[in-house]
Symmetry: C2
Subunit: 159 residues, 2 copies
């Protein structure tokens, strides 16, 4: 099962290191992590996705709750939420493949952000499946570089 | 000065924890961190942005290079690169403010991803300044929730 763990973390030295250390000690490998500033000056939003590890995840959450640097903690797997990620992809092209590559971009609504002599770079936003889908379509053309942000998520509705 | 540090990290228990621990020991607070899978099965791309800390960043990079789990390391601050981040924002609205809020979304090309009785959620992709700009415009309307992915980056051109 996939878990999406969302936390508010106080901005201070080592706060993220404390969190990642809890995962390390429980031998839980996360699939993605993202952490950036929020609307409040002194707090960052941290989102971690984990696949499998159902047995250990309860213990990890319990321990995270005891950390001073964690202000709020949610396991979004059980709640309704909007999840999105973004990826930058650099893919090879030739004169012959160009039209096909551009068509794939159009289907996935990927935006071109850069171009070289033999590669083209695009940005795509969507849920994990959409990003995976684009990557799968582009793979035969040669993916030179790929950078995913990891998932971020908001609860649905007004809450 | 702002630094954007991009690394390829081997997928194994505690790899990200090792990296964040180096920053903690040098007392360097990062602004954002994002780490997710790449096109290769066993390697993730990690991007960390740091502001200020010019004096310590050299030592941090030197120590990161010595880690077994780091396969490649770049300080993109000195290179030409495309940098982007994504944010999900939930903002309040009333019958009176609705049109104005929607206009702001249009100017920033933010996509609506959800709506409640009194809040509306959008997704925005762009460089840090663009995301900061939208947040600034929405703040008077009441930001209920904000989740940024942190910056990801690709080198420009074919490299």
């Amino acid at each position: 099962m996939k878990h999406t763990i969302s936390a508010l973390v106080k901005n201070r030295f080592g706060a993220v290191a404390e969190v990642t250390d809890v995962f390390r000690r429980h031998r839980v490998n996360f699939k993605s992590i993202s952490c950036a500033e929020t609307e409040e000056f002194d707090v960052s939003r941290l989102v971690i996705t984990v696949e499998n590890h159902d047995d250990q995840i309860g213990a990890v959450l319990e321990e995270l709750k005891t950390l001073d640097s964690i202000a709020e903690l949610d396991d979004l797997s059980r709640k309704e939420f909007v999840d999105r990620e973004m990826a930058l992809i650099k893919v090879g092209f030739t004169r012959e493949s160009m039209a096909q590559v551009m068509q794939i971009f159009e289907v996935f609504r990927a935006n071109v952000v850069g171009m070289g002599q033999e590669t083209i770079s695009v940005e795509i936003t969507g849920d994990e499946d959409k990003v995976d889908g684009l990557i799968k379509m582009l793979r035969p053309h040669g993916i030179r570089s790929l950078c995913r942000t990891g998932v971020v998520a908001l609860k649905r509705g007004d809450e």
